[in-house]
Structures are given as C-alpha cells and as structure tokens.
Amino acid sequence: MSERVVLVDAVRSPFGKAGSLYSETRADDIMVRILRGLLERNPKVSPALIDDVAIAAATQTGDQGMNIGRSVSLLAGIPNSVPGYSIDRWCAGALTAVTTVSGAIAMGQYDFAIAGGVEHMGHHPMGEGMDPNPRYLAEKLVDTDALQMGMTAERLHDKFPHLTKARADAYAVASQNKTAAAYSSGKIQRDLIPVAVRSVELGWGVATVDEPPRPGTTVEALGALKTPFRPMGNVTAGNAAGLNDGATAAILASESKAKELGLTIKAKLVSFAFAGVEPEIMGYGPVPSTIKALSKAGLSIEDIGLFEINEAFAIQVLSFLDHFGIADDDPRVNLYGGAIAVGHPLASSGVRLMINLARGFEEHPEVKYGVTTMCIGLGMGGTVIWENPHFAGKAGK
C-alpha cells in the first residue's frame, strides 16, 4: 500500500495584475482553461482515469465558490464520474492540494489526480469577507499585526535587524533580473497556457505573458518607494509580491501507473511537511516546515541542489536563507526569479514553484534533490522535497 508519487506535468496561466488583465474574466474560467490546457498537453492521461481534482482558492465565494474543484471539472468537460473538491490553506492552497492528493496516491488509493489553485485577487481582495473572532484581540492571542501580511513582513525585519531593507531591495532586483533573463530565453513561456481574456472596452485578448514583471528595476528605484505598512518601514511594493490573478494545475500520479502509461516524470516526491510559527512572523514558516521535511526524508540542507521559495516578501526569503546559511544571491535559489517579479495569486502559487523546480531539474541533472516551500498566513510554512528524475549522479549524493 505504498506508492511513489510523481509529478507528471504542471502548467499555469500567465499571471495578471489585479484589476487589469483578467478584470473581466472569471476566476473559474481561468482555472477551466488551465485544466483543459493541462489535459491537452497530456493526451495519454485520459480524463476518465483521474481519481480526483483538488483545487485551491483562498476566498471560496463567487467565481471561486460552489466547491470550485468540482465546479471547474464539470465546466472543463472532465467526465461527471471524476470527483473534485476544494482546498484552502491560504497561500499554500495549491501546495496543499498537491500534498493531499499525493498522500492518497502514496496510500495506493489514487492512480492519477489533478492538483491546482486559482486566485483572482481582483475579484476577491485579500481579507474579503473575513470576520476575525474578537477573542483574537480580547485575549491577545495574536497581535493586530498578525492579520496584515505586510505587517508580518515588517515584524521579520524587526526580528532580524541584519536583514536590512537594502538586502531586501537587492534581492528583489535580482528576482526581476532572473525573470527577465528566463523570459528572454523562452524558459517561462514553455509552461504557460494562453488564456482568452474579455474586455468590453478593448475586445477579446489573449493572456500570453505575465503582466507583473518590471524588467530593468533598479535598487535606486526601489529605494524611492513608499513603505505603506509603517513609517520608516522596510517593506515596499517593490520588495514584495503584488496583488495578482492566475491559476495553476498539475497532474500527479503513482510512479508505477506513470511508467505503465509511458508518461513523462518531471519530479518525484520525497517528503513534505507543514509547520506553524507565531502568526506575527508568518514569513518564517518555511524554516520549521523545511527542517521537518528534511528530517522525514533523512536529508540535510546540503543535499538540496535547487530551491523554489515563494517570494511573498523578500525579507521572508532572506530569513529562510539566513537560517540555513545560504547566500542572498545563491544561484540554487529561484532559478527564474520568483513571486516578486511574476506575481503571487495566493492559492495558485504552490504549483508555480513546482513548474520552475521541474524545469530546474531538467537543466541541472547534477542536482538530486530540490525543495519547494512557501510561507502561509496565520503563521505557517509548507515544504515539499522532490527528487530529480534526470539526476545523472555527477555531483551531490
């Protein structure tokens, strides 16, 4: 009853800025298109074979409601016989969708599953419909800062004064540069599914590139930005991810079934873990979750050849790297840049990390293991450790 889980393929929509590219396109329509694009790319995976469709969204109402996992399956024309459900762990939605279906595959209960996520932050601004229990404040369970992600990032700066704004800005510029370079060599485009977008004013368009990146961003320019979360603060729109719309999806399978059908294997799941921290410093979450995942896998941080860490905030990445003694500009980290450049449509981002890691594995057969990790609101981190199927044994263990 124990199966090895593999990532067969993963794709995503081009990400948009909230209120722009996708402002007149429904979240479920974006998600449907990504599911159809994914299945189109993988004709050997007959939709009827899929045992479940797990789709994440942080705000599950309106065009992200109605049990979006089931709803988008029906809308995508996946057979009625295939079930679906929705998942929520805020930013780590898609990542959790992957680990949840992977658990079922590993137990031998599923052969194939789709995991993904969607977030239309233009239609569903962060905190929409939120109704925090008054006990949080009355009993001082958390500080008011805990519910404002920008504030939690400022708190990380407070906690680690040596991780300065200058370092955060430099990290952000590097992220922009890496994304620009990946784009110009056509690396990111390979896994984008074009999505038709509606606009009453402009007519139909098709989203074919990420909208958020700002190539050519300089440290000087970032230095001039306001710090919206506190006066004299460190966190700016330039060293954080924006408010974005987008969707991602992946096919996961048991290794035996994938081999039986002759499917591509882009990564093999090794271990995963989630862990909690104080909600006020939620950005620190990836540290304990990665420690946990490494320990479960019997690996140490030195074994990891590639890191895909979500860039909700530069400071949150820096605190992770700092903890593990990795340099700010270590080339193993975020090969094609990260969320600071391409954007972070909350619940969708987990699979984007896997898309990039899988491409990194292809480019680096000397790497045996890679990590995808992200921080999660209300103080959590999630980590998945993957093995490179292309590993040629040149370096590492």
Binding site: V32, R33, R36, G37, L75, A76, G77, Q189, L192, I193, P194, V195, A196, R198, S199, V200, E201, L202, G203, W204, G205, V206, T208, V209
Partner: protein
C-alpha cells in the same frame, strides 16, 4: 467612406463597436501577432450585435487598423454568446428613398469585402449566434471556425430579403449550389431553420468546430496551423458542373412553389437568381447585383409587411395585449382535462410537459381513458427515444398523469379544461356538474372553437371563473392560443389563464367572447366565399386557385380537408346562426358530410393532389361561374369587412391582434403582414370600409 444618415423617425442605432487587439502568437508556436477584431455593442446577449451605418464605420476603422498593423493575419469574433445577428433592421422600415437603401447595401459590401480582399489571411471565429449579415461578415473571411453551441443562418429570404451583403454570391461559390440552396432557401423557408455547428461544418460553411470553453484559444491555434501550412483547407471549384447548378436551382424553385402554393414570391426567386449567377459571376458583379435586389426589395410593401409581421411575432410572444397584472394569477397545482379523445389527450400532454403538475383526465368509460393515457405515455416514450427528454423526466411526468371515470378526482384541481363534443347543452351541463365538485376558485376552461363561452357560464354560481382557452391543431406545434373572456370572467381567472399560456410557450391573444373568436371566424368567412363560388357554378379548380397570388401555405380546399368538412360545416352553421346570413350553409358541404366525403383532394403516390371523384359528383353547381380574380376579390372583401366588424365590436382591440392571429393561427405568410397590411396595400380595406387598418408606413411604405 461617405457617411450615411439614418432615415427620419428611425430609432437611434445601437452601435456595435469593433475593437482591435494584437494577439502575440509566440505561445501558439508562431512568430508575430494576429489582429483580433471583437464586435461588441456593450450590451448583454439579449441585445445581439447588429450592423447599422455607424457600426459598419466602426468595423471599417478596425479593419484599417488591423491592415496597418504589423500583424500577420486578421481575425474577427463576437461578444460572449453572440457573433452578430446581421443588419440593424429597425432602421430599414423607415427608408423611403431607394438611393438610401442602395447606399446601405453598398456600405455593407464595401466594409465586409475588405476582409475578403485583404493581403493578410483573414479568419472568422464564430463564437456564437451568427445570422444574416453576421454570417456574411464571416463568409467574406478566408477561413471560419465555429463554437459547438453557435447557431448560424441566413434568414433573409424568410424575412423578405436576399442575403445581400455577399452571402448570395460567396456561399454558392464556397459550398456549391446544392448546399447554398439548402442554407439560403430551404432552411429559410422551413420556418427559418438555423444550422447547428455540425451542420455548418458538414455543409462547408465553416472549416472547424471548437468547444466554447476555450474557443478563442483553439481558433487561434487553428489559424496558426493554417498559417504555418500544417493545416490545409481545400476549396472545391464548383463552377464547372453546370447541371449541378440547374438541379439545385430547380430544387429551390420547387421548394418555393410548395411553400407559397405556387405564388411567385420575389425575394425567394431573386435569391435563386443570385445563386444561379454566382457560378460565372465575379464577386464584384455578384455584390453589385445583390445591392440592386436589396434596394428593390427594401422599397416594396411586402418587405415592410414582413418586417412588421416579424417584429409583431417577437413582441406578442412577450406581451399579451390587455392581460391583467401577472400578480393576480393563482397558483396552478393540479389540472383536470375532461375528455380523453385525441384533442383532449394533446391538451393533457402539453400541460403535463410544461406545467409538470398532476394532470387527471376523465371520460365516459375506462377504455377511452386508457387509450388517452396510452397516447400520452406513448408520446413521452417517443420523446425519450428521440433523446429530447431524459428517461427520468419521462418517468416523473408519466407518474403525474392519471385518469378516472369519476369526475370527483377534479375536487382539488385548480384548472379544469374541457374538450368534449362541440355541443352547447352538453358543455353547459358539464360545467354545472363540475361546479359541484371543484372549489369556487377553480378555473373552468373550454377549448370550444365556436360556441359561446358566455352561454356556457350562464346559470353557474361562479361564472367569473369560466374562460375560453382555444388551441389550434396540432396543439404542440401551433403557437397561437385565443383566450376568450366573457363579460363575467374576472381578472384573476384571466391572469391565471395567461400565466398557464406562458408556461405552455404560446403566443396569446385575449378576445371578447364572441362566435368563433378571431381565426375561425375569419377563415370560415373567407372559405365560405370560395365554397359559395363553387356552389354558384365556378369550377372548383378556378375557385380554389383564386388565392394563389397571396402565397398561402395551402389552398382553401386543402385546408377544408385538414379541418374536415364536418367541423367546418358545424362552425359555419354556428356562425350562420349567431352572426347571420353572411355565413351561408353550403349545400355542397352538407352533401360532403352526409356522404362521408372527408377531403376534396386525394394524394397520389408522388404526393400530387388530384380532385376526389366522390367529391366532384357531390358539387351542387349553379350556373353563375366567376373568374379566379373575381373570387379572390370577393373573398378578400369578405375578410376586410369581417375584420372591420370585429374591431368595431371590440372582439380584439387592435388590428395587430388580428394579424398575429392569422400569422400564428393559420400560418399565413409574413409578406401579407398577417392579412390586414395586404388588404390595405391592395386597396381592399378602403373599398370595403373607407379606411385602412394600419396607417401608411406601419406595415407598408409610407
């Protein structure tokens, strides 16, 4: 391009804007971009995109921008669910100058043909409904994709026009004469049948079909495949085989003759001429000919009457003249049908299917009830077999219908309709009996075609709940429902009847209870003139072909065969009694009924109609023969005088309601405008009553 102003009085144009966006093709595996034009009038799908002068100007600009861009191809698509529904017809009725009509036709050509003549490959992504000019835009493009859910059609000939923005010339060249005649003539004449995507593909109208979920993306993928040569679209040269064209045109002519009883209906004949000419014509010459025909037709009364009739049908479908507030309607939770004969069973079936409430039928004996129930369940089974109903729905409906010989099962019914033998005393007795069983609010409806509803309600404790509910045969197909109010019928009863009619998807006309309401009163009067002429000594073929120029769906004697001489005579007798001598009793009809002759014509093996020898021998011919023209004038005058009387008596409140009755109750053609616009334009109305039914310009040239 010269600016075209809308004619005076025309409503403001709802402008369909044409937006252009550049779509980068890199992700689709091709260099460069495609210019995608979107047609969007900024309103939802209930108000489809249309083309008036300003919309055409916007499209012209968009094509210019797309031409000038660095894109490698041009594509055009619509707003969600709608590609384009064609020319803006609302202005057409106001054109009073042939030059203006000609200019609008030419403007459409001038804009659309740029898509066909562009140096860049052009594509139409038909994402939704594309009708008339909407489909013609697509036809000018070099390639077409269509969404699986999109309906397409060239309804011009149905409306009284020709596909005059390129359709009549391009389509025959593209898909051959046979298929073009199918789309332009046969479909249009077959009650404006639209093509499903698969049919459009099979006929060659479109090149590829994609599902709506990612229609634009897959259409672009298709365009890229065409552009990079991996997809080859072969176009057949249809011009060589002249016979094929002759054959197709003949098929079209035969269909036109059949539809309009041999009348030469100009738009259909002209459309066939344009199709025939397309074999050897250049596109330019074809477009020129289309312009001329379009202008000719536009500046003629039949088109104006057609547009009037078409709009009337749309309008009356939604709004019932004189209907009380819908809020007054009572909830209908159970329906009773008295009688289990064919008519009653049809009523039970349509009520069951649409209201989905318990329906109970009663008749004199169990055998008749079983037969009625078997008919209803059999029809449900047929629907399941044709995949027009799910087995679950059929099972649900089947369990909702039941029958009994005991009328007490009507006790908790909210609406009981009778369809028993047409005899007043029987119906009066029935209603008195029912009143003892049902609640005081239960509606008692009658499907009588000529008896007095008022008399049926006399002596009842609650006459206010009695109403006439008159269907036409076949019930499921004929769209008209006459609702007859007596002086006692209250608003709640009428509102409920209208609410039920809406559920049954019928177009309703509320009439004052009077003999034979509207349709049968007019038809009987007019048929009486034909049979009178025969009785007087006019040869039957002369009398029966008298109405041929009108283009009616069948001749008077064919209609007689459909209705049956028995019913026709019964109605005539009723009307003779109630309305007087102008409704005569034909001795020939009496003889038909007496001798059991059911039809005047007998169908031969080839479907041709030959006089029934048994019928011919029964004709009691006098010696005063009339010519065909004389018979026609006399029948039309009878129609005009009866219609005027009905308006004077307040049977209906507007002339338009008489027209809608004739359009939907007997399927009279649009180009007559129902009937009154035709009587106006031939001068009959004024000759008979000194006045028109409609002011000039409403359903005619002004």
């Amino acid at each position: 391009m010269s600016e075209i102003k809308l004619p005076e009085g025309a409503p403001d144009e709802v402008i369909t804007a044409a937006h252009v966006r550049e779509i980068d093709l890199t992700l689709f595996g091709h260099n460069g971009s495609i210019s995608l034009i979107t047609l969007d009038n900024g309103m939802d799908h209930n108000r489809p995109n249309t083309f008036g002068p300003q919309s055409l100007a916007s499209l012209n600009e968009a094509i210019k921008v797309a031409e000038a861009s660095s894109s490698i191809a041009i594509a055009i698509t619509g707003k969600p669910f709608i590609f384009a529904a064609g020319a803006d017809l609302s202005a057409l009725s106001f054109l009073n100058d042939r030059e203006q009509a000609l200019a609008i036709g030419k403007l459409g050509h001038d804009v659309f043909r740029r898509l066909g003549e562009s140096s860049k490959p052009t594509f139409a992504f038909v994402n939704g409904l594309a009708l008339g000019g909407g489909l013609e835009v697509a036809l000018h493009c070099r390639y077409r994709t269509v969404a699986t859910t999109a309906f397409t059609a060239l309804p011009e000939v149905f409306l009284g026009l020709v596909p005059g923005w390129g359709g009549a010339t391009i389509l025959p060249k593209l898909i051959g004469p046979k298929n073009a005649v199918q789309v332009i003539i046969l479909n249009a004449l077959n009650n404006n049948t639209m093509m499903k995507s698969k049919e459009a593909l099979a006929l060659g109208v479109v090149d590829a079909v994609f599902e709506p979920a990612d229609f634009i993306e897959n259409s672009i993928k298709f365009a890229v495949a065409v552009l990079n040569g991996s997809m080859k679209i072969d176009r057949k040269d249809f011009t060589k085989d002249e016979n094929e064209w002759t054959e197709a045109i003949n098929t079209g002519k035969a269909a036109v003759a059949k539809k309009f009883g041999g009348a030469e209906i100009p738009q259909a004949i002209k459309a066939l001429d344009l199709i025939a000419a397309a074999r050897t014509n250049t596109l330019g010459a074809g477009f020129g000919a289309e312009d001329q025909e379009l202008a000719n037709l536009t500046m003629n009364d039949p088109l104006r009457a057609s547009l009037y009739a078409f709009n009337l049908i749309q309008k009356k479908r939604k709004k019932v003249e004189g209907a009380p507030k819908p809020a007054l309607a009572r909830k209908v939770s159970k329906v009773g049908v008295v009688g289990a004969g064919l008519m009653a069973s049809q009523l039970a079936l349509i009520i069951l299917r649409n209201l989905k409430v318990p329906v109970v039928i009663t008749d004199l004996d169990q055998e008749r009830i079983d037969k009625g129930l078997a008919y209803i369940r059999g029809e449900l089974t047929k629907l399941v077999e044709k995949k027009r109903m799910s087995p679950e729905s059929a099972a649900r409906l089947s369990s909702l219908v039941s029958g009994s010989t005991d009328k007490s099962i009507f006790a908790d019914a909210s609406f009981v309709i009778e369809a028993i033998f047409e005899e007043l005393e029987l119906k009066q007795k029935l209603f008195k009996e029912l009143e003892k069983i049902v609640s005081t609010e239960c509606i008692l409806a009658t499907n009588t075609s000529s008896l007095s509803v008022t008399k049926m309600s006399e002596g009842l404790a609650n006459p206010e709940r009695v109403i006439g509910f008159h269907f036409f045969n076949p019930v499921a197909i004929m769209p008209l429902l006459e609702i007859a109010r007596t002086p006692a019928t209250d608003d709640a009863t009428t509102a409920t009847a209208v609410a039920i009619g809406k559920e049954l998807k019928k177009t309703m006309v509320i009439v004052k209870d009077s003999p034979a309401f509207v349709v049968n009163r007019l038809l009987t009067r007019f048929m009486g003139e034909i049979t009178d002429a025969i009785d007087e000594g006019t040869p039957p073929d002369v009398a029966d072909s008298a109405m041929k120029p009108l283009g009616l769906p069948m001749t008077s004697l064919e209609l007689l065969g459909l209705v049956g001489p028995g019913v026709a005579l019964h109605v005539a007798e009723t009307l003779h009694k109630s309305l007087g001598d102008r409704y005569r009793i034909s001795p020939t009809m009496q003889a038909f009924v007496k001798e059991g002759v059911k039809t005047f014509y007998i169908k031969d093996d080839k479907g041709g109609l030959n006089p029934n020898p048994a019928a011919l021998t029964l004709i009691k011919a006098g010696n005063k023969a009339s010519t065909s023209d004389q018979v026609r004038i006399r029948a039309l005058k009878a129609l005009a005088s009866e219609a005027r009387l009905m308006l004077d008596e307040g049977v209906v409140s507007t002339a338009a309601e008489i027209d809608i009755c004739m359009l939907l109750g007997c399927g009279w053609p649009l180009h007559l405008g129902g009937v009154l616009p035709y009587l106006d334009r031939t001068g009959i109305s004024e000759e008979v009553s000194g006045q028109r039914f409609h002011p000039a310009g409403v359903a005619s040239l002004s």
